[in-house]
């Protein structure tokens, strides 16, 4: 394991790995949930957490050059005085690195309107598996040839290691309002999500929390969430003041029409922050209920939210597990959360079996395996649920074009046997 402090150090480390024909794995803060940065096959682990410099901020063109170990929230804090922010905001944003965000194509509540990490990366300086350094993408709107930057974002360290990243900085919206709607049924909350979108409103964020998680969060944070709600929606609207005011009125009206018991509009920034603190503390709040949790990540078409949620609760009952749901409802990104105590004998088998059943349910509803956490090790063997052997073969060829040696973070994303005829040369010592 090594802790380089410059991009040149990263390149040197990768070259040493190349000289010894050893795999290597880049690792940021280790907040990833799919095992993308988990070392397998005895690799050299290259930790990027000492690469923490913000190299350049350009308010005029709206970008910053950062090193991969810069923490997500630290970047937004550093440019706050310029009236700018970095939009992708995963729940782990206080701890996760921008490099890790690039690797997983991370999301967050505000990706509903702003888009995921891939839409906020202009350029990436990358160390390839042979130790050479190259630039993918650029600050100009289009590059000649293939969008290699677009291929690299979300490749979970299997195409190389980012050493410098140019990210988009967005101007802070002139007006922001946050609303909390509470419902006596999940169905009414989900119908409200659809009705808001159908009304032509794409909120900045549109989050749902079910009864269990709402109670857990309220007991933990005291944000004033109704403890007896079957579901709450957190809706954020932003833009020009007049437009936002009109949208607040529309969402209030739609909420009431769909059966919301109350619609609370945060009066000021302090109340807004409190409402968000509830949402972002959800995973911490769970520790009050059980010592362990398994957080899932899958996306379904918005219109299937109610059916899929019902099935998810049925699965929890079938496996006698406690299930909570807190998720990005606006883009159909579910996060079923199984809470348990791993000291209970046989619990892991049930947790995994329930997880597999949830994934199958989401895929059958026309969904995908991951919306923002990635595939990593966790869902590698589930890839054939959504891709044919031919689809995976194309992906394997794309991956290998970046790293013909197969040493960059092996055994991630693609299931075994993805390569028709197995084109890849297997390095000595790699566990493929």
């Amino acid at each position: 394991m090594c802790f380089p402090s410059t991009g040149a150090d990263v390149a040197a480390a990768v070259r040493i790995a190349a000289d010894h024909d050893r795999p290597f794995v880049a690792r940021g803060s280790g907040t990833g949930l799919a095992g993308g940065a988990t070392p397998v096959g005895d690799p050299l682990v290259i930790v990027t957490t000492h690469l923490t410099r913000i190299l350049e901020v350009d308010a005029d063109d709206g970008y910053a050059w950062v090193e991969p170990g810069v923490l997500n929230l630290d970047l937004s804090r550093a440019v706050h005085h310029l009236g700018l922010h970095y939009a992708p905001d995963p729940s782990s944003q206080q701890a996760c690195t921008i490099g890790g965000n690039v690797a997983t194509n991370a999301g967050g509540p505000h990706c509903l309107a702003s888009g995921v990490t891939a839409m906020h990366v202009f350029a990436v300086e990358v160390v390839l598996a042979d130790g050479s350094i190259t630039m993918l993408g650029g600050l100009e709107p289009d590059q000649a040839g293939y969008d290699l930057r677009g291929c690299f974002v979300g490749s979970e360290g299997t195409m190389g290691i980012a050493t410098r990243i140019a990210v988009r900085l967005l101007p802070d919206p002139p007006a922001v309002r946050t609303l909390l709607l509470d419902f006596t049924s999940i169905e009414a909350a989900a119908a409200t999500v659809s009705a808001i979108i159908a009304d032509g409103i794409v909120p900045a964020a549109l989050e749902m929390m079910d009864a269990e998680i709402t109670r857990a969060v309220e007991d933990f944070v005291g944000a004033g969430y109704p403890r007896d709600a079957a579901a709450v929606l957190l809706v954020e609207l932003d833009g020009l003041p007049a437009g936002v005011a009109a949208q607040v009125a529309s969402v209030e009206r739609i909420g009431i029409e769909q059966g919301a018991r109350t619609v609370r509009v945060a009066a000021d920034d302090a109340e807004r922050a409190l409402l968000w603190k509830g949402r972002k503390s959800a995973f911490g709040a769970i520790s009050r209920i059980a010592p362990d949790y398994y957080l899932h990540d899958a996306v379904v078409p918005r219109t299937r939210l109610v059916d899929v949620l019902q099935r998810v609760y049925e699965i929890a009952a079938e496996y006698d597990l406690t299930m909570m749901n807190v998720f990005h409802a606006g883009d159909g990104n579910l996060h079923p959360l199984i809470v348990f105590d791993q000291r209970e004998p046989g619990i892991w088998e049930r947790v995994h079996a329930a997880g597999d059943a949830i994934l199958r349910t989401c895929v059958d509803a026309g969904g995908v395996l991951s919306g923002e956490h990635g595939i990593g090790l966790e869902k590698r063997e589930a890839m054939p649920m959504v891709f044919t052997a031919d689809d995976l073969d194309v992906q394997a060829r794309l991956r290998d074009a970046f790293d013909p040696s197969g040493r960059a973070n092996p055994r991630k994303i693609l299931p075994r046997g993805s390569r028709c005829g197995e084109l890849q040369r297997v390095p000595e010592g790699a566990w493929v």
């Binding site: 100009e140 032509g200 689809d391 060829r397 290998d400």
Partner: protein, 316 residues
């Protein structure tokens, strides 16, 4: 649009067989961006199916045969009060063609580039397999981002047959404004006057598109004005400049201006003797390995990207 699912399947089978057996394949759309980059050499022309495959306004997504004209797509979305701001110069351009040419419309400043809009792509590979990249949902990190590889690939990765796009509610009110003052932003804002139409595309037989870091436009625009015979339309805040000229030499001069300001010019039409990209592609080794792996004999849209695929042996 008068085509049954069975007919589409027949069409796809035929397309796969043609691609698998031909020595050279040229996917054809509306032929409106036929010369973007380098013009194609000879080969068997193939077409993708057209028509709306699936459209659920509540999902804000639409799936179309790649041969669907952008104008037809706009019509279908408009009926539900939605849009997909592809906005090519000619509405006869097909969705597959716009994706292959990597064209982002003039509303990119607000709505982002095309590559952020393509959710899922189906395409026929050089060896005749029908494959899928991406996924159907608006948010998805399941596997490698193959759709982004296809955007701007000029038909060299596969023959695109079907595209799923993110669409959006049409704004209640949308207007173009014009202002004469371009030096002082406050004066410019004060002088805004509503106009009926989007600014016209610059006309000329020889056309190109400059990409430059947005703030460099301030210096690049006056330099372009100094090139005799070049008409241009710049997307402020984006860094795209559409240029047109009646004399190919003027396009070459515009390219020199772009290069001086850290940008580059993509040849889009005319100027047949002028190199499409103005030099070798960045990261050529990776590009050539991708091409060798996916199209070892170089049959897909030969000639359109500079550089030949690496020898087939490299693919194993």
């Amino acid at each position: 649009m008068g085509v049954t699912a069975a007919q589409v399947l027949d069409q796809l089978d035929e397309l796969r067989a043609t691609v698998a057996t031909a020595d050279a394949v040229l996917p054809v759309g509306g032929r409106t961006h036929w010369e973007v980059g380098n013009p194609p050499t000879t080969g068997v022309e193939v077409r993708a199916p057209s028509g709306i495959v699936a459209y659920d306004p509540a999902e804000l997504t639409v799936t179309v045969g790649a041969g669907t004209a952008v104008g037809d797509l706009a019509g279908a979305l408009g009926e539900a009060g939605q849009e997909c701001p592809l906005d090519p110069r000619a509405p006869a351009a097909t969705v597959g063609g716009v994706v292959a040419a990597g064209l982002s419309g003039p509303r990119r400043l607000r709505y982002g580039p095309l590559r952020d809009r393509v959710l899922e792509v189906r395409f026929v590979t050089a060896d005749g397999r029908l494959v899928k990249g991406g996924g159907p949902t608006v948010k998805n990190v399941t596997g490698y981002d193959v759709p982004r590889l296809l955007v701007g690939s000029l038909g060299t990765v596969g023959v695109i047959t079907e595209v799923k796009l993110r669409c959006q509610p049409r704004p209640r009110v949308a207007r173009w404004f014009e202002t004469a003052d371009d030096a002082d932003s406050e004066a410019a804002a004060a002088g805004l006057q509503p106009v009926d139409d989007a600014p016209p595309w610059p006309a000329g037989a020889h056309r190109g598109r400059i990409s430059v870091q947005p703030s460099r436009l301030r210096d690049l625009a006056p330099a372009l004005d100094d090139v005799h015979g070049v008409l241009w339309l710049a997307e402020v805040g984006v860094g795209t400049v559409h240029v047109a000229a009646d004399d190919p030499a003027d396009l070459v001069a515009a390219r020199a201006v772009a290069t001086e300001h850290g940008g580059w010019l993509l040849r889009e039409a005319g100027a047949s003797g002028v190199d499409g990209f103005g030099g070798p592609l960045p990261n050529l080794a990776i590009v050539e390995r991708i091409r060798a792996a996916l199209d070892p004999t170089g049959k897909l849209s030969p000639g359109r990207l500079p550089g030949a695929p690496a020898p087939a042996a490299a693919a194993g």
